[in-house]
Symmetry: C2
């Protein structure tokens, strides 16, 4: 029996080694694609190519008796690596005749990411950091694009500190609230102004499929090339007004982060045994715990700033608190029927999204389970 199993396992290992060689070959081909794309300024992420390629492989998989989801998942994972490796080949310079790109806060994590991408695209990049303000005029002289990438509570202040910029210079910020910085930029600069909010952290391997929200400020025709450049890097753009953006972020960031904060705070006050909790966790609860714990590996000030960035956030959090209190009184009364009725109202409100989310998270939870050791 042991011999029989050993032979089969050797054969499996041989297959896996062949697989490894194919991966090496594929990465090599993709690097060549990257070079062609970079020469011609083509975006690294082409949804149509992805869709048609996956459809063909799924069909062939079915004929071979391989589950189509298996080949799709494997190829999607390989493609992620491809996007990252296409990155390294550089990108086409869409605005070659432009002056330098100056990144204010260019040594911060997000600043470094954008600095790298602009350099990979052939732009001259300069950094203006905290201690550089005395040389600000020199650093900014002849700038074609200024990107403000500083902590959110400093954004407006830094914008107001900028010396007069060349008339045609594009002024951009990357803060995660958009209206106040946009107003500040419009006030200090008469040329083109654009608000960007990258909806991802600085640790992404590539911008492929990552969302960047953008809010038009002034003279959009002057920065169309920049929006295209972001797309060449792989990003998906989402246009929105600054006010609408901030309204959505109150939910996406302020309320969510605060709820996560209080949840972690409560766990620590209850002093639960994390180890035991994890040993008992289903994949979904492990993920939920991870989503809470991960907040606290990050910067307290950043989260404080985001949550306290507006009165609207506070009002929203208060309404949630009231909603929680009302639901709690149902529990105190032991009113299961009313709990079920409210549950079903929310179900109706979510509509098709509820099932959609269930399926989407099921896929992800299976992936989480794959990685269990």
């Amino acid at each position: 029996m042991v011999a029989e199993l050993a032979t089969l396992r050797d054969q499996i290992d041989e297959v896996d080694k062949a697989l490894l060689n194919l991966l090496a070959k594929r990465l090599n081909l993709v690097a060549q694609v990257g070079e062609v794309k970079s020469q011609h300024g083509l975006p690294i992420y082409v949804p149509e190519r992805e869709v048609s390629m996956l459809a063909s492989r799924r069909k062939e998989a079915e004929q071979l008796g391989v589950p189509p989801d298996l080949i799709e998942d494997v190829l999607r994972r390989i493609m992620r690596e491809s996007y990252t490796s296409e990155n390294d080949k550089g990108f086409k310079t869409l605005k070659p005749e432009m002056g330098a790109v100056v990144i204010v806060g260019g040594h911060g994590k997000m600043g470094q990411l954008f600095s790298k991408l602009f350099k990979l695209s052939g732009y001259q990049v300069r950094v203006l950091e905290q201690h550089d303000w005395q040389q600000a005029e020199t650093i900014l002289s002849g700038a074609g694009l200024v990107v403000v990438s500083v902590p959110i509570h400093l954004t407006e202040q830094v914008i107001h500190r900028l010396p007069k910029l060349p008339e045609e210079c594009i002024l951009v910020d990357l803060a995660s609230v958009k209206n106040p910085p946009l107003q500040a930029m419009l006030a200090v600069h008469n040329g083109p102004v654009l608000g960007l909010h990258p909806m991802f952290g600085p640790d992404v391997g590539s911008l492929a499929k990552q969302v960047i929200a953008y809010c038009d400020g002034r003279q959009p025709e002057a920065y169309q090339w920049l929006l295209e450049q972001l797309q060449v890097w792989g990003a998906k753009l989402q246009a929105i007004s600054a006010v609408e953006h901030d309204k959505n972020m109150a939910f996406i960031q302020a309320l969510r982060h605060f709820a996560t904060f209080t949840y972690g705070l409560n766990l620590s006050q209850e002093n639960v045994q994390l180890e035991q909790l994890l040993a008992l966790s289903s994949p979904i609860y492990r993920l939920e715990l991870a989503m809470i714990g991960r907040l606290f590996a990050q910067d307290a000030e950043l989260y404080g700033d985001i949550i306290m960035s507006s009165e609207d956030n506070l009002a929203l959090i208060k309404r949630y608190y009231t909603c929680f209190g009302n639901a709690l009184s149902l529990l105190e009364k032991g009113d299961k029927a009313e709990f079920i009725a409210e549950f079903n109202q929310v179900k109706a409100w979510f509509g098709d999204y509820a099932t959609h989310f269930l399926n989407e998270s099921r896929t992800l939870l299976r992936q989480a389970n794959d990685s269990r050791r």
Copy 2:
């Protein structure tokens, strides 16, 4: 340029087809492993084999210039399929001389899963459903194992309704609270008693790496084979006392589900534009929204039962509400310094787990991004 790109893409497609053939070959080999394992009663998940195999492939990957994480992720995904396909080959019967397995509630989703697994392992399986109580004596006659798999609010009641079981029959329940059902089983039956809580939903493809918590009731020597059978199916067992189990579940289930419920309730009351929220979402917020929405695709009563299953749950939820209120008053005072201080206390309490969770969730969020369309 188009021709150049087309040639490269054709070559990539050829590589992907070769990959597909390897997958087919591998699944075939794995099916043969499944047969050997099934004959000899070996567990489908063998952690040591997985660890050593992945370590070898990672090393070889590095030599080939392939990112080691890529081959590991791809192999883990393939192995999931392998566990499922090993499943289909059946499992060894560890207790061949035993009477029938009777699953009370065997037509429910979890009941069906266990029914399938017992059948695949060569046991005779009978089902006792709601409308079968008049024939209960017949169905249960000569039973070697009775598994109670009914909605949580009916568990104790159903246990009390059972006719007298054969002295040597093993009585087991699968409810997600453990102490009250265990006490009920000990009261109605003098033979071996065991509480199980499968920490997963009935939609898992296989039990590989899934956790089952178990609480000893009486005569553990009589059901050791059953615990081994669960391991042959791939499950990871976690021993815990019923009281400790329920204390942990207050966090894992009651508080978490209730917080998720109130979050969804609040979103519906605020009537946010889900579509716009999703368009703007980072992978992490999309995942968080999905974790909320998925709750509402499920059974209101099940969640009501879990949350309202004990006074301790209510007390815990109230303490969380108080904690939230205290944190909210920090915001109202605009006390950012105190927010940061508390944040850092929680960070210290999470210790190494915070960074660990950040890395773990980063991997998963990248996978979530891979699947974006």
